[in-house]
């Protein structure tokens, strides 16, 4: 069992769960940062995926450690200002990882984490995007374009290596008590900017459910692409109200340039193309995951929001970090 991106949210939680599991004999972690658990089972290798020849290094490690499953999670969860570094890390890093996986015949399974943001928000989206729907993210949104690129590479890899079981998981927006990234920072503010007159439906999945499904896929080989979503949808205005925040609608005619200037000056969480996700529909259908993986989320979208709101309240009075 080999993992990349163990310093990330899903990676670190997955390593902790695998470490607690008796049936897992060895966990190989490949990352620039050390994993959050110290255990005899966990063997850490410090590799920078942006370096040239990282593919050879990873292949050597996989040969040496006799890994059979590779979980690739080395992705950024929030948009980076240094887009070229993010591109090197995600797109090129994935390329190296895929090189290594195809070079090592022992690797039977590859699991890659993506996001439903890759579908792109679009007024012409059907209300429930299925896994077969083309990925039409805004080309100027580098953060999501990198994810789309990763998916395309992985699909090509799956076609070239039909013997290997390749799984892509696309969780929607993950919220929860410990998850901290640009979406939680956006919803954590008192005044939340939305687009005037637009009220798209949003869906959320609880962090426990998201980690649970990764654990499930690691246990049981299940090839294919799966949307990981919570049940139910809510318009963003209702989400803001359930969180107890104040809605600040801004007309889309000025919002894009406004957010862009904020992003350039370092005051916004995401660049302007992210506003599409506050404007149009991008809800995914989780029926396939339920059918094939047996994944039934414990938290609905509304439960997730209320759980997050509760933790935010505690966080405000410094009872939770």
């Amino acid at each position: 069992m080999a993992l990349t991106g163990v310093s990330g949210f899903i990676g670190s939680n997955l390593v902790q769960r695998l470490n607690a599991d008796e049936t897992v004999a060895k966990i190989v972690t490949i990352d620039v940062q050390t994993p959050p658990v110290a255990s005899v089972k966990v063997r850490h290798h410090k590799v920078d995926l942006t370096e040239p020849l990282a593919d050879a290094t990873v292949a050597e490690i996989l040969e040496e450690e006799k890994a059979d499953t590779f979980v690739h999670l080395a992705f950024f969860s929030s948009p980076m200002r240094n887009t070229s570094h993010a591109h090197e890390m995600e797109s090129v890093g994935t390329m190296y990882v895929l090189h290594a996986c195809s070079a090592v015949p022992r690797i039977e399974r590859l699991i890659v984490g993506s996001t439903t943001m890759a579908y792109g928000a679009h007024p012409k989206n059907p209300n429930y995007l299925s896994e077969e729907h083309p990925l039409r993210a805004n080309p100027s949104y580098r953060f999501v374009q990198d994810k789309v690129d990763v998916e395309k590479q992985v699909e090509r890899f799956a076609r070239k290596n039909p013997a290997k079981c390749v799984t892509i998981l696309r969780p929607c927006t993950i919220l929860g008590p410990t998850r901290r990234y640009f979406i939680t920072r956006y919803f954590g503010r008192l005044f939340i900017m939305t687009l005037l007159g637009y009220d798209p439906l949003m869906q959320f999945v609880h962090e426990d459910d998201a980690i649970d499904v990764f654990r499930r896929v690691v246990d049981k080989p299940s090839p294919g692409i799966f949307n990981i979503v919570g049940k139910g949808v809510l318009p963003i205005s209702t989400v803001v109200r359930l969180l107890g925040r104040i809605n600040v609608p801004v007309s889309h005619l000025v919002a894009y340039s406004f957010v862009n200037s904020l992003w350039i000056s370092g005051m916004a969480e995401a660049p302007a193309p992210h506003l599409d996700y506050l404007r149009y529909l991008w809800v995914a259908d989780g029926a396939k995951a339920e059918e094939k993986l047996g994944f039934v989320p414990k938290y609905s979208t509304r439960d997730t929001i209320l759980a997050f709101a509760g933790v935010e309240r505690l966080r405000r009075v410094h009872l939770v970090q």
Binding site: K124, P126, D199, V233, R241, L242
Partner: protein, 438 residues
């Protein structure tokens, strides 16, 4: 003398029921008294205790003790007798009342009334308790608030704000006016619907005086596709068909109407239509709705129908590419042809401006008798008289899935539905005398 002293001391004591009672007679030595004295010491330990207390105050307590007990006993006896008499009186009264109540014919009703009253009070109390215990509202309670009900409940709640939890709840209530906490999977919001319903009712009953025929042709259960002609710049016909089926159909069925893509580019309009139950027109959405055994209204004319010139009214445009037929085949649902007469004159389009259409990024920019001359007011549709006819259900799936690849068959079926609607429209138009009065 000693006895007197002792008794006088005893009289205002707390053990005696009434301090105003006359002072007790001096104690007599009688077998009854002795008996009571014995029993008194044995049965009433508090009396004994009091006797000891008194002993501390009286001069010769040991000599007078028995006499005091005797006095108290007698007094208690009297008192007991009085109480007993009163109780017996009460009991007989109650018995009489009960007899009366039993003989009364309406006693059962009254009992039920009382029971209901108590029940509702208990329910209210539990609800309130739950409300104060948790910051979240009770989940399964349907929050059907009209605007003024909402305001009234706010005022009521506002009067009760005295601690943090309820304050938070009031704030939450204010925030959630006109919206529900849970929407269905296509974003339909029951609270919002209730909020706008008076306006739509006005349009239905007063403005267009809608008359519907043959609603019973719609199946009472199971899936079904309503195919209709389309007109009137804004998709009012979808909303009115929905209302007609809800009001007139015996099963009060809900119709989800499909709306053109371009509507979802617009601010306000997109979210309002979504919350009212409109769904973006595409195969996936329609398929999903039909799979859930719902009624779906489709307008295969699409934008071509919506932006029809006045001179082309009641001339059905091309029915798309027969997508609705493949939809029916795949989901095996019947087609109910629907003809809406009257809607095509609500916004008579005399010209279209391509320049303005490009400027506002809309598929067409209508120029009607009133729009854009009167500004947004010009968008108010004319008060024509509407008739909605529902035809006999057509089965377009008779050859099953095998014909899915038979394009000629699909086109023929599409044409069949189109001509059915056309005939219904012509029939109604021939019988119509006036656009505005029917």
């Amino acid at each position: 003398m000693g006895t007197r002293k002792a008794t006088v001391e005893v009289v205002p004591g707390p053990a005696l029921p009434r301090p105003t009672e006359p002072p007790p007679r001096p104690a007599r030595h009688s077998p009854r008294g002795n008996h009571h004295a014995r029993n008194g010491t044995a049965l009433a330990p508090e009396l004994l205790g009091r006797r000891r207390d008194m002993a501390a105050f009286s001069v010769e307590p040991l000599l007078e003790g028995e006499k005091i007990v005797e006095v108290i006993d007698r007094k208690l006896d009297d008192r007991l007798r009085v109480v007993e008499r009163e109780a017996l009186d009460r009991l007989s009264q109650l018995e009489q009342q009960l007899k009366q109540a039993l003989t009364d014919a309406r006693w059962e009703e009254r009992v039920q009334e009382k029971e209901q009253e108590v029940r509702s009070r208990v329910d209210r109390l539990t609800e309130e308790l739950r409300g104060t215990l948790s910051s979240q509202p009770v989940p399964d309670k349907k929050r059907r608030l009209r605007f003024f009900d909402g305001v009234a409940s706010l005022v009521r709640k506002g009067a009760r704000v005295n601690w943090w939890t309820s304050l938070r709840q009031v704030l939450r209530e204010i925030r959630m006016i006109g919206r529900s906490e849970e929407v269905d999977e296509f974003g339909m919001d029951p609270v919002f619907e209730e909020l706008v319903m008076p306006v739509l009712d006005f349009f239905y009953h007063r403005w267009w005086r809608i008359e519907s025929n043959g609603v019973k042709n719609i199946p009472s259960e199971g899936r079904g596709l309503l195919v209709s002609n389309h007109s009137g710049t804004l998709p009012f016909d979808g909303a009115m068909t929905k209302l007609a089926v809800r009001k007139e159909h015996p099963a009060k069925r809900e119709v989800r109407f499909l709306v053109e893509d371009f509507v979802f580019y617009f601010p306000f309009l997109s979210s309002a239509i979504m919350r009212f139950g409109g769904v973006r027109a595409c195969q996936e959405n329609a398929q999903r709705l039909l799979d859930h055994d719902q009624l779906v209204a489709v307008y295969p004319e699409g934008v071509k129908g919506l932006g029809k010139y006045y001179k082309h009214r009641y001339q059905l445009a091309r029915f798309g590419r027969g997508g609705f037929i493949t939809l029916c085949m795949r989901s095996r649902s019947p087609v109910v042809p629907v003809a809406v007469v009257g809607a095509e004159e609500t916004a008579p389009i005399i010209a279209k401006s391509t320049f303005l259409a490009k400027l506002f990024r809309v598929p067409y920019f209508p120029i009607t008798v009133t729009f854009p001359w009167l500004g947004l007011l010009g968008l108010v549709p004319l008060p024509t008289k509407w008739t909605i006819d529902f035809g006999e259900p057509l089965d377009v799936t008779d050859r099953g899935r095998a014909s899915l690849s038979d394009d000629l068959f699909i086109n023929r079926q599409s044409e069949r539905v189109r001509s059915a609607i056309h005939n219904m429209m012509i029939y109604r138009l021939q019988r119509r005398k006036s656009i505005f009065f029917g």
